[in-house]
Symmetry: C2
Amino acid sequence: MGDLLAIDWGTTNRRIYRLSDGMVADTRRDDRGVLAMQGRDWAAEVAAIRAEAGGLPVLIAGMAGSNRGWRETPYVPAPATIAALAAGLVAPAADVWLVPGVRQDDPADVMRGEEVQLLGAVAAGLTPADALLCQPGTHCKWARMAGGAIAGFTTAMTGELFALLRGHSILADALAGDVAPGRAFDEGLARAEGGDLVGALFAIRAARALGRAVDDRAAFASGLLIGSDVRARGVSGRDVFVLADAGLGALYAAAIRHFGGRPVAIDSHRAFVAGILAIREAQ
Amino acid sequence: MGDLLAIDWGTTNRRIYRLSDGMVADTRRDDRGVLAMQGRDWAAEVAAIRAEAGGLPVLIAGMAGSNRGWRETPYVPAPATIAALAAGLVAPAADVWLVPGVRQDDPADVMRGEEVQLLGAVAAGLTPADALLCQPGTHCKWARMAGGAIAGFTTAMTGELFALLRGHSILADALAGDVAPGRAFDEGLARAEGGDLVGALFAIRAARALGRAVDDRAAFASGLLIGSDVRARGVSGRDVFVLADAGLGALYAAAIRHFGGRPVAIDSHRAFVAGILAIREAQ
C-alpha cells in the first residue's frame, strides 16, 4: 500500500498522521480545528500540508466534513461499514477525500470522526466484530458493533454537562477541584445507582450550606455524571472497549467496573489509523 | 389574633403580606431579594416596612435567614414541625423574627422558605398530614409529609439544568422556543421513561444536524427534564400536591399524570400565610 496522509480534523484540534507501508511514520497535533479554520482557505491549507509531505494523497475524517467545515459530506446511515464509508467519500480536491459521518434516525443521533476509530478497532482486531465500544469525551459515544458494522449508537452529553455545572451553575464554586478516581468519585458512582441525576446534584450545594468540606465534590459530581451515563448502557457482564486518553479512560473504567462490566482499554490512535487504511483499501 | 406582617424573602424577589385577623389585607411583590439587599441596611429596610404598616410585628421566611441575608438562622433538622420552626425563630430586632430553614443530613439537603408553605398547606387543611408535596422551580422541592411534619425531602435542579442547557450548551440555539404542554412536551416525558437523561439530550442536536425542524425542542427538553425529575419520585398511584404558578404547575401536572400520579393544585400563597400564622400561634 502506498504512502498516505490521514487527518483527524475535529472542532477544536486536528491530528495529522503520515502513514508509510501501513505504519505511522510521523504524527503531530495542533489547535487548527474547524473553529480556527473559519474564514481560511481549506484548499490552500490542505495543499500546503500535502506539499510538505511530498504530495501524498490525504483522507480527512471529522468535522472538516460538516456544514461548518470544508465541504458538507452526507452522513452514511447505520448500520455502517468500511465499504459504506469508502463509497461515501467526497473529494473536494484532487487526491483529497473527506470521510462521511454516520447517522441514526431513531433515536436521532450523529457522529463525525468517531466512525473511523470504531470500524478501525474491529479492522485491526482490537475488538471482536460484535462488541460494545465507548469513546468518552465532551459528547461520549457508545457504539454497538454487530458483524463488524456500526449497528447503533448513543451520544451522551456527559462531559458537556459537567462543564456546564462547573462553569455556570450554583455548584460552580464547589466543583473547582481536580477529578481523579478514588473515594469521592466512587461515592458519585454509588449515588448514580438510584437513577436520579437531577435529584442528586443538589446535595453538593446542601453540603456547602451545612458547612461540610466540599473540596472533593468535583470528583463526586464526575462520578455521578459518568455513573449516570454508564448505568444507562447495560454494561453488566459485558466487555466494554474504551477508546480514551489515560485520565478519562481510568474514570470510565472505574464506572464500568462499578456497574458490573469489564473495561478493556483500546489505543484510539491505532484504531484511527487502521480505519483510514481500511477505507483506503476499500476505495 | 393580632395583625401581622409576613415576608417571603427570596434570593431574587420578595413578597410582603399584611395579615389582619388571619386574612390577607394587602400583598405586594418586588425584586428587592437578598441579592439586591447586598450592601444595604437590613434593619433600616425592615423598620421602614413596619413603619408603613403602623409598626406591626413581622415574620420573615426565606433567604433573609441565610448567611447571605440579614442574619444566619440555624436550620431545624427534619423531621420538622411548626413547633420546631417557632422554637428556632431568631430575632435580629425587636418584634422581628426570622424563620429557620430545614436541613436533612443524609442525603444532604436544605430548604429556606419552602418549609412555611409545606407546613402551612397541612395546617390549612389543603393537604392531608401524610402526603407528597411538590414545589416546582429553579430548584424543585419534593417533600414527604408524615404526621404533619416535614419528614424528608429532595431538591432537584430541574429548572437550573434547563436554564444551563438553554443558556450555555451546544443545544442553546435549538432551545430558544416556548415551553407549553402538548405533543413535544409529551414526547420528552416518554423519552424520560428510559431513565437516561445524559443520553437523551443529544438527540436535539442530532435532529438539527439531520436537517429536522427544532422549533418545538424547548418543550421536548422541558418534558425530558421534568419527566426525569417526576419519574424518580415514585408518584404512581399517589396524590401529589403541587404548589406552583399556573404555567409551571401545568407542566408538572402533565408529568405527574404521565407517570401515573394524581396532581392536585394547591394555592401556595394561601399555604404560606397559613404557615406563618401557625408559627405565630406557636411562638
